[in-house]
């Protein structure tokens, strides 16, 4: 009986061995009135956030995360969002489709469908723009985890493996730094924008983190799908 107890204790002890990445603590939490928020980005004019949902909806919120607009058209499984001065770029994971919504009226203007035959729910999870390389970036969630570079016409030009994470759920380029978010590992990776090698890692105490962006003041913002909340941290 004692041996069984010791074995169980050893197993639990091993299981609680923690990693050495820096742990972040949120300073503020906001409830998102968005069902299943799966990614978030700051608008180009830094006056709004755009949030997409697993149910295929695109929302605009103010800086306190209150919904201000919603696109009329519905997709299937929106998982990535990025905005510039003219368009809101939305990635549909299941349909492998990027739709460009006009920022002015949130109506779809054009789009492109990528080819990827992997699992329906293990496809494109993010969308951002790498200004260093002038390429759009999307990530394959898992099986295997990959970073894809897309050209200005949203066609694939390169792929990079990223085996350091169990999965990737979001990506964000901010002030010359590239950040990747892992949902299952609950980790943020800062990577080199040129070759995506890891520079630094942080751990966040957020369940099901699926979106990463930065506030106009430079605070880290993480959206949680299961919690339907936005967590605001100090600048990295």
């Amino acid at each position: 009986m004692n041996k069984i107890f010791l074995v169980c204790l050893s197993i639990l002890s091993f299981s609680f061995i923690s990693d050495t990445s820096e742990k972040l603590v949120p300073e503020h939490t906001y409830t998102l009135q968005v069902p299943e928020p799966s990614d978030i980005c700051l608008s180009a004019d830094k006056q709004n956030y755009f949030v997409v949902s697993d149910n295929g909806y695109l929302f605009e919120t103010d800086l306190q995360f209150k919904v201000t607009r919603k696109a009329d058209i519905r997709g299937l499984d929106y998982e990535g969002v990025y905005a510039d001065e003219k368009y809101v770029y939305v990635m549909d994971e299941s349909l492998r489709k990027i739709t460009l919504f006009d920022v002015a009226n949130l109506k779809p203007a054009k789009g492109n469908t990528l080819t990827y035959l992997g699992g329906r729910n293990k496809g494109f999870e993010s969308l951002t723009y790498n200004k260093d390389k002038k390429r759009f970036i999307t990530t394959i969630e898992k099986g295997p985890v990959q970073i894809w570079e897309l050209d200005e016409n949203l066609n694939k030009v390169m792929e990079y493996p990223f085996p350091a994470a169990s999965d990737l759920s979001s990506a964000c380029y901010h002030d010359g730094h590239m950040y990747l978010l892992s949902d299952e590992d609950r980790k943020i990776f800062e990577v080199n924008p040129e070759d995506y090698s890891i520079i630094k890692t942080w751990t966040i105490p957020v369940l099901n983190p699926e979106g990463i962006t930065f506030s106009p003041e430079g605070n880290l913002v993480i959206s949680s799908d299961d919690m339907s909340k936005a967590f605001v941290f100090k600048p990295l």
Binding site: I11, L12, F14, S15, I17, P35, E36, G56, R74, G75, L76, D77, S94, L95, R96, K97, T113, L117, G118, G119, R120, K122, G123, G143, P144, D183, E184, R186, P205, V206, L207, N208, S224, D226, M227, S228
Partner: protein, 379 residues
């Protein structure tokens, strides 16, 4: 020997990394092909005098293939299990088709699901068995007191950021045998409904917390179903379930997750008015009760890629019969090579009441048994 073992491990690793699931998109609809294979070895601990050991040995438990299509307005799924087609005689209560349904999502207030699929009753029933720690479900949820699937219509929707799930449906009442048997003379239907609430966030129907939730999550579910069939022709696959006239069942479940630990508790109780009055054991009553409970604790270790689980379950087939409650304790260990997409499962189940070592026992799950399974699940 060690070299050979290493070769096998390397081959397995290559196979595991293949990620065989495939999907196709035309820009508005995506279609996915999923597969699952489970190979098991069962060993029962028979008395030394028992010469019939036919239930010991390897078996193909699942050989499933599914085709699933989705768009913003609809879902379609067709899944069949080729493993049961190897049987000399097809069991009408375990048909080769396991899912064949269509969902319309075009209405904003409710989704409509129609076809052959799981009845929204019992949290355990609603979960895929591939990502459960145990290979076999508790006796309570093995179609002993209720059918798990049927043809019918289910209306469902979520509330409060998916923290509340609500289901209501009408079904043939024939259970799994609806695919091979005509309805009974009454032509009556079965009605079922379920509501579950989770807090502080939505909680999927899972048993293992692979992501190690940083906050405690709890879910409480209530479900009920009612059927009145004067001449039942095949309801559930239990030896005592197909003789009933009127049956109403209530069920309750509570489950939770925190930091890799999870638990599930479920209780179901049926009130049955039988056609066969011998089931009343001569008591001055028109009905009897049947039901049971299951309690399960699980722990997932990320470092060890392992799941440890223990489960207690009991089932009382007839409350008018003395001392016939079946009780069992089961232990499970899972090694997750690639999550539950590729896993090795070990389960040991031992009864501590109603002990039978009869090789022909209809309630075979109540023989002490050691099972080992290897599963591939591409979805």
């Amino acid at each position: 020997m060690i070299k050979r073992l290493l070769q096998i491990i390397v081959l397995l690793t290559i196979t595991i990394s293949a990620n065989c699931q495939v999907s196709f998109s035309n820009g508005s609809t995506v279609t996915e092909i999923q597969t699952a294979t489970v190979v098991t070895y069962n060993h029962r601990f028979y008395d030394s005098t028992e010469r019939n050991h036919k239930k010991n040995g390897p078996a193909l438990d699942d050989a499933r293939i599914a085709i699933e299509s989705r768009s913003s307005k609809f879902e379609f799924k067709f899944e069949f299990d080729l493993a049961v087609m190897g049987n000399a005689v097809l069991d009408p209560t375990a048909p080769p088709i396991t899912e064949a349904y269509f969902v319309y999502k075009g209405l904003n207030f409710v989704n409509i699901k129609t076809g052959f699929s799981k009845i929204p009753f019992s949290r355990d029933n609603l979960q895929e068995h591939f990502d459960m720690p145990f290979m076999s479900r508790p006796e309570l949820d093995k179609s002993t007191i209720f059918a798990r699937r049927d043809v019918g219509v289910t209306l469902y929707r979520t509330f409060w950021n998916e923290k509340i799930n609500a289901y209501a449906g009408m079904y043939s009442g024939q259970g799994e045998s609806v695919l091979t048997t005509m309805n009974d003379a009454s032509g009556s239907a079965e009605f079922a409904g379920r509501v579950d609430v989770s807090y502080p966030c939505k909680y999927k129907y899972i048993q293992v917390d692979e992501v190690h939730s940083p906050i405690p999550i709890i879910q409480v579910g209530l479900n009920a179903r009612y059927i009145n069939k004067p001449v039942a022709t095949g309801y559930g696959n239990s030896v005592f379930a197909d003789l009933n006239h009127e049956k109403s069942i209530m069920g309750f479940d509570v489950s939770g997750a925190y930091q890799g630990f999870t638990f599930q508790v479920e209780m179901d109780q049926a009130k049955i008015v039988p056609n066969n009055i011998s089931q009343l054991d001569g008591f001055p009553t028109t009905y009897y009760r049947t039901g049971g409970a299951t309690i399960q604790l699980n722990y997932h270790s990320k470092l060890l890629r392992s799941v440890f689980a223990v489960r207690y379950d009991e089932l009382n087939p007839n409350d008018l019969t003395q001392d016939d409650t079946r009780k069992a304790v089961s232990f499970a260990y899972n090694y997750l090579i690639n999550s539950y997409r590729c896993a090795l499962k070990v389960q040991y189940t031992t009864p501590f009441s109603h002990f039978t070592k009869d090789a022909e026992s209809a309630l075979a799950g109540f023989d002490p048994q050691l099972s080992v399974a290897w599963q591939y699940w591409f979805r």
